[in-house]
């Protein structure tokens, strides 16, 4: 394995390739010779066989999170699950109250859903994280009100990889009788999940971050004590009325297989990820003016999010053309907004603009990491030689004291 495949993929938090084993299982559910039936067909073996595959997958997904299969509702992905959970629970309980608590560092699928509910007359509190990205539990307790019905906090952050203490939050919401939704799109196969121990009521999952296919996800909906939600997609009453639509057998089988593998291989894979991540960090951490974003300990092993001060993220990505990574800087709109997650953890705009997210995964190798270290060092050096800010820094000028012409 000494030949490198260029470009190198280090963006596993965006999505993952489908594992060969998963692809094989999926391919068996498509054609006439395969398991193509409609799982809802009750009148013939094609339907029965498809239903069996779907239920087998449901078991695999439930097992990974410590749930029972009946608590799993198939959706099209984590975005839909977030919508269904938050809107569904908020609307069902609106007679009790119309206050929701979430965090500023949530995925847009949660934040935008909350914004929509605000337009519909709900009140939402967006909590600031601590500097390490974690929720301040004391501050959180203070925000809870009589009319708070739903709390939505993500498990693993997609940008900085930090892991929230879900069990601690769950203990609080359970005591107060508030519904607790967790966006766990980034967690399976990386952090152990047990919805009972964590007192989670609703949990969003998807397959495409776990070596499964895109376009399939699930929502865990607790049965004891029973959590009721209002359906957002109406139709044939599939998934006990919570999500209508013919079940895509091949997608579901893919998700089930990917979760089965993730559950079985998590420990070994995490150990390998940690060693690759440490190798990458050790290879760059002596560089001047670089900052690790998010807590290093409370973090999934495959994620490194680094700000390279005085270098703009998009140009850095351009220099790293042989490496597929993502940047917290989105210089593609007139507003030039840097990552709201990095802003929320207190990074200034410059550092937020200068960030790169490296996420490693199942197919990452030591050779790839070593190559990345060399390329990153070269690129940062090149861009700093081009950067007037770097010059000013070297001259001892405090950039905050300069009066910039904001545009």
């Amino acid at each position: 394995m000494s030949s490198l495949n260029i470009p190198i993929y280090l963006d596993y938090s965006a999505t993952t390739p489908v594992d060969e084993r998963v692809a094989k299982a999926m391919a068996e559910c498509l054609t006439l010779q395969g398991n193509f039936g409609n799982p809802a067909s009750r009148s013939h073996p094609f339907g029965w066989k498809a239903e069996e595959a779907v239920e087998n997958a449901r078991r695999n997904v439930a097992t990974l999170i410590g749930a029972v299969p009946k608590e799993i509702v198939w959706t099209s992905g984590a975005t839909e699950s977030d919508n269904l959970a938050i809107k569904g629970a908020a609307l069902f309980n609106q007679k009790k109250g119309k206050h929701i608590i979430t965090m500023k560092t949530e995925h847009k699928a949660v934040l935008d859903t909350c914004r929509q509910l605000e337009r519909d007359g709900f009140e939402v509190t967006y909590m600031d994280p601590l500097e390490n990205g974690l929720l301040d539990l004391d501050a959180f307790k203070k925000e809870i009100r009589e009319d708070t019905t739903v709390v939505s906090i993500m498990h693993v952050n997609n940008e900085i990889g930090v892991i929230q203490d879900i069990a601690a939050i769950g203990a609080i919401t359970r005591e107060k009788g508030i519904i607790f939704h967790v966006d766990a799109a980034q967690s399976p196969g990386k952090v152990a999940i047990n919805v009972d121990e964590m007192n989670v009521d609703l949990m969003s999952l998807c397959a495409h971050k776990v070596y499964g296919p895109k376009g399939i996800g699930a929502l865990y909906v607790r049965r004891k004590p029973r959590i009721r939600i209002e359906a957002q997609i109406h139709g044939g009453g599939h998934e006990r009325g919570m999500r209508s639509g013919t079940l895509p057998t091949h997608q579901i089988v893919g998700m089930g297989e990917s979760f089965r593998i993730a559950h079985e291989e998590m420990e070994a894979e995490n150990e390998r990820m940690r060693s690759l991540r440490n190798r990458l960090w050790d290879g760059v951490k002596d560089m001047e003016e670089i900052y690790l974003n998010g807590d290093l300990e409370q973090r999934i092993p495959g994620n490194l999010n680094i700000s390279f001060n005085f270098v703009e993220g998009e140009s850095l990505i351009m220099s790293l053309k042989d490496i597929a990574v993502s940047s917290g800087s989105a210089c593609t709109s007139a507003s030039l907004e840097p990552s709201y997650v990095l802003r929320a953890i207190g990074r200034n705009d410059e550092l937020a603009h200068s960030s790169i997210r490296f996420t490693m995964g199942r197919f990452s190798t030591e050779e790839e990491v070593d190559f990345t270290i060399v390329k990153v060092r070269e690129a940062v050096e090149k861009l700093r030689a081009l950067s007037p800010l770097w010059d000013m820094h070297k001259e001892g000028i405090d950039l905050d004291s300069v009066e910039w012409a904001h545009h």
Partner: protein, 137 residues
């Protein structure tokens, strides 16, 4: 997003990168943008007695299109008079580099940098002229 060949060329081989003595009487430094907005351009022009730009240097913090825009500008201004250079518009830069609409602001910044450099050198000249006339009076 795909970059045009011109942007890539200027980005990979930026022209006229460097720094001039900003206090020299014949150097006009133009610094525009803000780190918080994700781009800062510093354009410096060295101007002869009769107002011709003899040399230009830049350094830019920003995306690839911002770097390419400033690199291109150093090429465009060399050998031209201040009056000619004042006529350069962002549209020329954007067109030359085939910038997509979301990157037009990079060319606007480059136009601003030219204007700032010209303003600076003119202010220096005026100050020198008034010093001279004050001395001869």
């Amino acid at each position: 997003m795909a970059y045009s060949d011109k942007v890539l060329d200027h980005y990979e081989n930026p022209r006229n990168v460097g720094v001039m003595d900003k206090d020299a009487p014949n150097v006009g430094p133009g610094m525009v943008g803000a780190p918080a907005c994700g781009d800062v351009m510093r354009l410096q022009i060295q101007v002869s007695e009769d107002g011709v730009i003899e040399d230009a240097k830049f350094k830019t913090y920003g995306c690839g299109s911002a770097i390419a825009s400033s690199s291109l500008v150093t090429e465009m201004v060399k050998g031209k008079t201040l009056d000619e250079v004042a006529e350069i518009r962002n549209a020329h830069i954007a067109e030359e580099l085939a910038l997509p609409p979301v990157k037009i602001h990079c060319s606007v910044l480059a136009e601003d940098a030219i204007a700032a450099a010209i303003a600076d050198i003119r202010a220096k000249r005026d100050a020198q002229a008034s010093e001279k006339s004050a001395a001869s009076a």
